[in-house]
């Protein structure tokens, strides 16, 4: 194996492992250590207006080409793994040509890119989240792998418990949003099919980050070049190029699509391909033109089918907008407890640390990192079409605990700013409202006040139902200025299935910072 390829594979495995740990760590311990791995992802950095990261990534690409796609992007590494298995299988079947040169499908590639940029500018985040590679990958991990990890954790803890040890919190595993689940499933199917058949088709035809980096990589200081004198035209490199960017007929490499996997370097028997400085004397004499061929309009069967499957899946997902809530098993010895229903909310609730609803949804790439990190069952992808897959909060399973700031620690895009638990009460993400028709003080004539007792900021005042009667029952009222919208009242309200006190999102979260 070529030394450069070894380094690439080693780095890719390290980065990919780090991202997986970040996405799957249910304890929150690793968030502080590995959070940067999400922040250096391209699109999150763009949305966070993180100039340093963007400049760094562009510089990296200008120096070495699309290393990013082979090392930093978890979806890219995942596709390499799929393709690796596929190629091994083809080789066993004596297929020595797993890959072939294919011309750049310019119309599709730049068409998607233009649409993507337009969507980004216009704030159509659904489309952005659909194609952003890191988001797509996070979604798949959160939907398919996290449940397995959590179940495993619960199982392990059962064993610990037998030994009298208590280490892992038991975690609910639940379907947070059916549409998002289906979209993640469709993405997974599409990516796997494309990678299985043709390696990096996704990255070179659909991925907007890949296209963007391609603008820079064609100018990179270091690039692989074919030595036309040494090349015997055996096409071994072409058949090993998962980006399908080596054209032996013209002895050129399309550097806008090359992801610097270095597979070709070791494959060449004639020492005819080198990764080298592009602007030296050598470069000028040997191969000045490196641009790919004109775009072929014919769709290769692989990418076409994959795309159709993907789009069909998406349409199916968009059509279904129901949320799967699961019932809880109950002991016979206890009073039955009805599951809570999600109340109507005029405005969505977005996490503490988000400046406003608008700002949150404008920055979020729907990578699901915060959803995976939320230990209280609060965050889940929205099913609302306007912000499909982007998270929102709801309190039927738990509430936003005062000591927890985990989502703010992991958000790579700046949609949720990093806050401390002390800063948390400076944000007012929602406002509680009492529905007197449901409050048990009024419906059952019992005393209660659980909402007031459990409110972490003292925003609920119990007042007499009948002010003239000194013995009167007391009912809850909300002191609007104090309420931060954490949902403790909604979650702990005994009225079921719909709470008598529910929270509505506030549009702006940091209007008066003095509140605490």
């Amino acid at each position: 194996m070529h030394m450069l390829k070894k380094i690439r594979v080693l780095l890719a495995v390290l980065f990919w492992t780090g991202i997986m740990l970040l996405l799957l760590d249910a304890s929150g311990v690793l968030h502080g250590w590995l959070g940067w791995m999400a922040r250096i992802q391209f699109l999150p950095a763009v949305l966070a207006l993180n100039a340093a990261v963007i400049a760094g990534l562009i510089l990296l690409t200008l120096l070495f080409g699309r290393i990013y796609c082979s090392v930093i992007c978890p979806l890219g590494v995942f596709q390499d793994a799929v393709a690796h298995v596929s190629v091994a299988r083809k080789r066993r079947k004596k297929d020595r040509k797993p890959y072939n040169w294919s011309p750049e499908r310019k119309w599709l590639r730049y068409g998607v890119w233009v649409l993507f940029v337009a969507a980004l500018v216009a704030g159509v985040q659904v489309f952005v989240a659909l194609l952003a590679p890191y988001s797509a990958y996070g979604r798949m991990v959160q939907n398919f792998l996290q449940p397995i990890v959590l179940w495993g954790g619960n199982l392990v803890e059962t064993l610990f418990e037998r030994a009298g040890k208590y280490v892992l919190y038991p975690r609910d595993v639940w379907l947070r949003s059916l549409p998002t689940f289906l979209i993640a499933a469709a993405t997974l199917v599409a990516v796997v099919i494309l990678a299985w058949r043709n390696g990096r088709t996704w990255c070179n035809t659909l991925c907007p980050v890949g296209t963007t980096l391609g603008f820079f990589s064609r100018l990179a200081l270091f690039r692989p070049f074919i030595d036309t004198e040494k090349c015997k035209g055996c096409r071994v490199c072409e058949h090993n190029c998962k980006a399908a960017c080596i054209d032996i007929d013209s002895k050129k490499i399309d550097h806008s699509r090359c992801v610097d996997c270095f597979n070709c370097l070791g494959a060449c028997k004639s020492d005819a391909i080198h990764y080298r400085f592009a602007y030296g004397r050598k470069a000028r004499t040997k191969d000045a033109a490196t641009e790919g061929q004109a775009a072929g309009t014919a769709c290769a069967s692989g990418s076409g089918e994959g795309r159709r499957a993907f789009l069909a899946g998406t349409a199916l997902a968009l059509g279904s907008a129901t949320l799967g809530a699961q019932g809880k098993k109950l002991d016979g010895g206890y009073a039955a407890i009805l599951d809570k229903e999600i109340p109507e909310r005029d405005m969505p609730i977005t996490p503490f640390g988000s400046k406003s609803i608008k700002d949150f949804y404008a920055h979020c790439t729907a990578c699901q990192l915060c959803v995976a990190a939320c230990p209280n069952g609060v965050l889940r992808p929205s099913t609302d079409l306007r912000r499909l897959m982007q998270p929102e909060m709801s309190y039927e399973r738990g509430y936003c605990r005062p000591e927890c700031v985990r989502c703010s620690e992991v958000c790579p895009t700046g949609a949720i700013l990093k806050i401390t638990k002390e800063e948390k009460t400076q944000y007012r993400v929602g406002l509680a409202r009492v529905n007197r028709d449901l409050c048990i003080v009024e419906t059952q004539g019992t005393s209660c006040g659980n909402c007031a007792r459990k409110c972490p900021v003292g925003a609920i005042k119990m007042v007499k139902v009948n002010p003239d009667d000194p013995e009167s029952l007391r009912r809850p009222t909300v002191i609007e200025e104090r309420c931060i919208g954490c949902g403790a009242c909604e979650n702990l309200c005994p009225a079921r299935p719909v709470s008598a006190i529910t929270v509505n999102g506030r549009s702006s979260h940091l209007t008066e910072e003095s509140h605490g």
Partner: protein, 445 residues
């Protein structure tokens, strides 16, 4: 008794067995393997000093997911008990979601009726009407498959004073009815089980002295902690109750000798003192011996839910050694030590259940008490092991109690208050525990 406790006792049991083989100080001898009997001074009944309380049998799920008593386990345990001389069985129509009597009936009807003494109660806590009360009485015969009760009790009287007693037994005519039943031979002994303050108890004793209402026996809560350290506002010290009963020659039946297991699984400081004195005696055996050392005690009930405590208790009672004065004083010392721990005085009797809002009241108390007993209670952030203890408390809490049944969901409606024989201010205690949990979670302890 839950599994943790069970494991502890099993562990203690096997340690005991091992130590028994070692030379040096000998373990207590097991005699002929049968528990000692005591003669009832009023009627000559030869009852076993260790009685079987049928309130804590294991429950399993049936096909529909409902809790049912594990009859197979019950039969096995009753067989062992009978084989080792336990001949007094105490149940109630209210126990174990109303299934205890039936299970006891199934297990005991396999033996001749005169080979055991049967005690049950009129547990008319809800509907006190004569019809409902008589129906409950009649159903006890059916479920226990018998045509007479050896000992029949007015269940848990004293709380609410004479007034509550009148409401449950006098106003509805049940008292004269039961006295007639006694004359007819269907009840051999009529007594009451007591929870409450001294005033109420004195009234019941006064009636007895005046001859208006003569008792044949009384059941009280008695153990080395309650002996002189009962909550003075709500309960009465057992030494007072016992002395009053002994004075009148009334047989004393004892409940809660282990406080629902809390005296079997004692805080480490207490256990250490006990083990220093007698390395081979378990805390449970100390507690039983304390109660049994009082000659007026007729039967000590133990709600044994698995085989291991039965085996251990049968050993304790088969060669029963009353305590010396000095040992009794030692127990008082242990009681003082016990009182230093802020445990909730819950005996896990489950009378408060089901809570209408779904809270697992005894579960929350048990979990809290166990953390204190096991020494895994995080007391302050300054503590060396704070992080580990905090995590252990919160994780085990989430595992022991489903989220929706935890203390933060208690709305303090007070429905439970009237059911608790220990008069625990349940909502207040739940709020106290919840505040503790909040402090743990928010690191403000």
């Amino acid at each position: 008794m839950d599994r943790r406790q069970f494991l502890k006792i099993t562990g203690a049991g096997s340690a005991l067995a091992l130590a028994g083989c070692a030379p040096g100080k000998s373990a207590p001898e097991t005699g002929d393997g049968k528990v000692v009997l005591r003669t009832n001074p009023r009627n000559g009944d030869r009852t076993s000093l260790l009685g079987y309380g049928c309130m804590r049998w294991p429950m399993i799920k049936d096909a529909d997911g409902k809790d049912i008593i594990d009859q197979e386990a019950v039969n096995e345990m009753v067989d062992y008990a009978m084989a080792h001389g336990i001949n007094y069985f105490d149940t109630s129509p209210a126990y174990l979601q109303g299934q205890s009597e039936r299970a006891a009936g199934i297990a005991l009807s396999r033996y001749p009726r005169d080979s055991y003494y049967l005690a049950t109660k009129l547990s008319n806590f809800g509907d006190t009407s004569p019809e409902a009360s008589k129906r409950m009485y009649a159903e006890s015969f059916r479920d226990l498959q018998t045509d007479y009760f050896d000992y029949y009790l007015f269940h848990a009287i004293g709380r609410g004073g004479v007034e509550a007693f009148n409401q449950r037994y006098v106003d509805n005519g049940m008292l004269p009815f039961l006295q007639e039943e006694k004359k007819a031979g269907r009840i051999r002994n009529l007594g009451f089980s007591f929870h409450g303050n001294r005033e109420a108890f004195d009234s019941f004793m006064k009636w007895h002295d005046e001859g208006t209402l003569v008792w044949d026996f009384v059941m009280i809560e008695m153990n080395y902690v309650d002996w002189t350290h009962a909550d003075p506002k709500r309960n009465t010290n057992a030494d007072y109750l016992y002395t009053e009963l002994e004075k009148r020659g009334l047989p004393v039946m004892v409940m809660e000798p282990l406080l629902g297991g809390r005296l079997a699984n004692v805080p480490e400081a207490v256990a250490t003192r006990m083990k220093e004195r007698e390395p081979d005696i378990s805390p449970a055996a100390w507690a039983f011996r304390f109660v049994g050392s009082h000659p007026g005690v007729q039967v000590i009930l133990s709600g044994m839910s698995t085989m291991d405590p039965i085996i251990e208790n049968c050993k304790t009672f088969s060669n029963f050694q009353p305590m010396s004065e000095e040992e009794l004083a030692f127990m008082e010392e242990m009681a003082v030590l016990m009182k230093e721990y802020p445990m909730v005085n819950c005996t896990d009797c489950k009378y408060c259940m089901p809570c209408p809002w779904g809270i697992d009241i005894p579960g929350i108390f048990r979990h809290y008490n166990e953390a204190i007993t096991d020494g895994t209670f995080a007391a302050s952030r300054e503590q060396k092991d704070y992080r580990r203890l905090k995590r252990a408390y919160l994780v085990s809490y989430d595992r022991a109690i489903p989220t929706l049944r935890q203390a933060d969901h208690c709305i303090s409606c007070g429905e439970c208050l009237s059911h608790c024989p220990q008069s625990i201010p349940i909502p207040r205690e739940l709020q106290r525990i919840n505040r503790y949990i909040e402090k743990l979670k928010q690191d403000t302890l």
